[in-house]
Amino acid sequence: MSSYRDLGRSTIRDLRLHLSGRELLSSVMIVAISSSLAVWSEPTVGLVSAALLFVLGVMIVGALHGLAAALLAAFVAFMIYNFFLTEPFLTFRLSTTTDAAPFVAFNVVALIAGVLAGRLQDRAKAAQRANLQLASLLETSQQLQAAVRETEVLTTLDASAPARLGLALHVFQHDGGGLAMLGGGAVPAGVAAVAQQVWTSGTATQLDHIVAVPLHAAQGPFGVLVAIGDHATDVVDAAFLSALAGMLALALERAALSSRIAEASALARSEELKTALLSSVSHDFRTPLAAISASASSLRDYGAQLDAGAREQLLRSIVNECERLNRYTANLLEMSKLQAGLSPTGSLVDVVEAVGAALKQVRGKLGSRQLERHLPAAPLLVRADAALFELALVNILANAIAYSDDGARIMVSVAQAGGEAAIDISDAGFGIPPGDLDRVFERFQRVARYEAAPKGSGLGLAIAKGFVEAFEGRIWAETPGLDGRGTRIAIRLPAAAPQAEAA
């Protein structure tokens, strides 16, 4: 920051050769008071002391308002001195050459006081300017730290002090081919050429209306920061802009990195999903396949040694497990359809009928669990895809069974609530930790029953949610479900008007 040192050491930019009205008035008053005092006290204190009072007035004016005011004050003071205190009295004529000495003295004092005051004020102004720049750099740096995206960085730049002071800040980035202005918009005339020149030379340029500095990242220069506006150099200089450019480069680099990280993690998430899908398919399909393969090969290899009951059981197991595989396949298929955004076709479906069909499918898996049904006598119509509705219900019921002990209660209730069909499936099973109530509807999300590998594909509830939302309904999980434990899955679907069926 050499320019700030230079400022204080050698050049005095502000000799204050202009005077504002207020400064003029103040100067006049000071001269008037000091002169009046001098003229009034001269008879008692003598001419020399009275002259000193004039000097004092000139000095005060110089210290307060600078050289111009001081010189003016010196002239006026001398005139008053000459008029009132030197012979011939009450004339401006000088009687002797010695009478001219005060004139010279007044002006020398004025000169010294004015120059000193000007220098002092210059230093104060420089310090103030440095402070302001430092504060604005600090402020901008804090804002840049919070900016994560390129657009945020540019917004922060537009709100920085130079921009607030009327300068337009433009960032050019070199993208292999050439310099391109970030944030779009038209490149102001002449700016591109200056930017190109700074980029080629690698050094800052400072003209009256334009200041441009190169942007450096870890890998080397990557762009140019340009500030343009009338008297741009009054507001910023190359040193200040370089400091700003340093922070800007860091922020832009970080923005680029973070966008790269975001891309990578999005990719990783989709890979994760594929892996989860594959391992889910692998596990869930192998389990029923194991039972089918073991049953079929047993019948083939040891059929003769098995009694009729055992053979019957093996055959039944093959059929049951095929049905299970079929359901898994249907789940996967429906999931990919819902995922692809294909909207299922809706027709009028009776909720009671759908629940009945779903219950029929899972009844074989109930074991000694006690199923309670609370179903309305009249049909309750909703607009839905019948097959998907049934699949969703089977998924929820299969969960209720898989996640509860033998002998526990499972309750299915259907009712009309306002304009909605309310379907609640409650169990007294292991339940869901309250924090996971929303997450169970995500794909491949299984409640960690224990550390061990869970049953099911982790698609069931995701499909239920996909289905319900496709038909403008709501689905959520609550805990406890029944008997102070377990889970309740609640579905609300808009009830369809029965007359729509006739139409």
Binding site: A294, S295, S297, Y302, Y450, A453
Partner: protein, 236 residues
Amino acid sequence: MTAAGRSRILVVDDEPSLVAVLKPVLEAQGYEVRVAVDGAGALGAVALFGADVVLLDLGLPDIDGKEVIARLRRTSDVPIIVVSARHQEGEKIAALDKGADDFVNKPFEIGELMARVRAALRRRQNAARRPAAFHAGPLTIDVATRRVTIAGETIKLSPKEYALLTTLAESAGQVVTHRRLLAAGWGDGAADTQYLRVYMGLLRQKLEEDPAEPRLILTEAGIGYRLADDLPPGFG
């Protein structure tokens, strides 16, 4: 194939569908079958009922299967056959390192499972009476004279090859992990399965009819090797 008396088999699996198949079929083969649906049940059943073979699913609802193996091994040397849909080699190797004797991948054919069960039972009997000779198909190993023959013809083996072959033979019909084979051939420090591959190649050259399609020394990809023990007897 005759059933092994009243050998007791403990089936540990939380999948009712698979248990429903295994129980009647194993019983029809003359085994006494008990079922446990979780790890705690398995540990209790072995302690109370005793078992000659444990068929263990790794994905149990309460305790991880590998932990069940570790706990069983503290008190029992019962043969453990891991029956799991887990396809990762890492899981199987970890289970074998914890003390499991063998594994069967789901889905499996019943004959494969029965062969593993028989191999496990046989090894248990062999361990008790330390046989003087080993037979597998055309292969015979005379432990006392260290003589190896194929279909009656003497095969000359290096000490390392002999050590590897006898290690496989001690667990005939069961998988032997790379680690165990390396320890047998090179001591515990050796770790490069590349050596193992070379020596297994040499053994196959000497023992197999067609080394490109081995029938005696089978590869369990990523895990180890298995000496087939249910080949047609040939001259053995």
